[in-house]
Amino acid sequence: MPNPTRIEINCTTGVESIIELTDAEVAEMEAQAAIAEAKRAEDEAAKAAEEAAKASAQAKLAALGLTAEEIAALSK
């Protein structure tokens, strides 16, 4: 299976070329994808943890007798 291609435009000559990626370029692309995926997973985990902490705090406030309106007012 051939490697993916890239488009190269020489701005001086105006010539556009379709060039197959080298194996090293494919490896670099895959490495970048792995880094991006790790960052995405990290962001999702942080967001989930934040939402869980918020829900926990709201439950504790409700247990103390605050109404839903009062809890919502605190988070503004």
């Binding site: 993916p4 291609t5 890239r6 488009i7 190269e8 435009i9 020489n10 701005c11 001086t12 000559t13 105006g14 556009e16 379709i18 990626l21 370029e25 692309m29 895959e30 970048q32 994808a33 792995a34 880094i35 991006a36 995926e37 995405r40 962001d43 967001k47």
Partner: protein, 168 residues
């Protein structure tokens, strides 16, 4: 302030897709550069960030402010992500838009950049982002490579336009 805006080069991705779009041998006869991008990628998400490599490197500092209609986030990155595109999970045949501004690209001093981008998705979640980047690059910028950052490839009909701006 710039008073001219000249198309240097453009590209439209063909049926085979493209891993990147590279502008090479950029002439030094302008003051600033602007890139306008309409992009959709193969990445299995509703959005994919857009990375720029300048003279072959994209490891530069970036700050971002991004929202998706439900929440907002701000942060730093060590890669020159300056825009957004629509990913494969977004509404079919929709494309994101981004614009990158690169002032004083022939300067021998460190350079700063700005970018903005939106993904397109006819559903609840779509993204918009503002980006700022800096690079300790002291050579004139002669090549710019635009790459989907998470491993996707540009799909057919994605377009990129490179403009030169003159201040006089």
């Amino acid at each position: 302030m710039p008073n001219t805006f000249t198309l240097i080069a453009s590209s439209t991705v063909g049926a085979g897709g493209a891993a990147s779009i590279d502008f090479t041998s950029i002439p030094s006869s302008y003051t600033d550069l602007v890139i306008k991008l309409s992009g959709r990628t193969t990445y299995a998400s509703t959005v994919e960030a857009t990375s720029l490599a300048l003279n072959g490197s994209n490891t530069y500092a970036t700050k971002y402010l991004q929202g998706d209609g439900g929440s907002a986030a701000s942060g730093s990155q060590t890669i020159l992500n300056l825009g957004l595109m629509t990913g494969a999970n977004a509404t079919g045949n929709t494309f994101g838009n981004s614009e990158f501004y690169i002032p004083n690209y022939t300067s021998s001093s460190a350079k700063a950049f700005s970018g903005e981008g939106v993904s397109e998705n006819n559903a609840t979640q779509a993204f918009a982002g503002l980006f700022a980047g800096s690079a300790s690059l002291t050579a004139a910028i002669t090549s710019i490579t635009i790459t989907p950052n998470a491993g996707g490839s540009f799909v057919q009909h994605s377009t990129a336009y490179l403009y030169g701006v003159r201040s006089s």
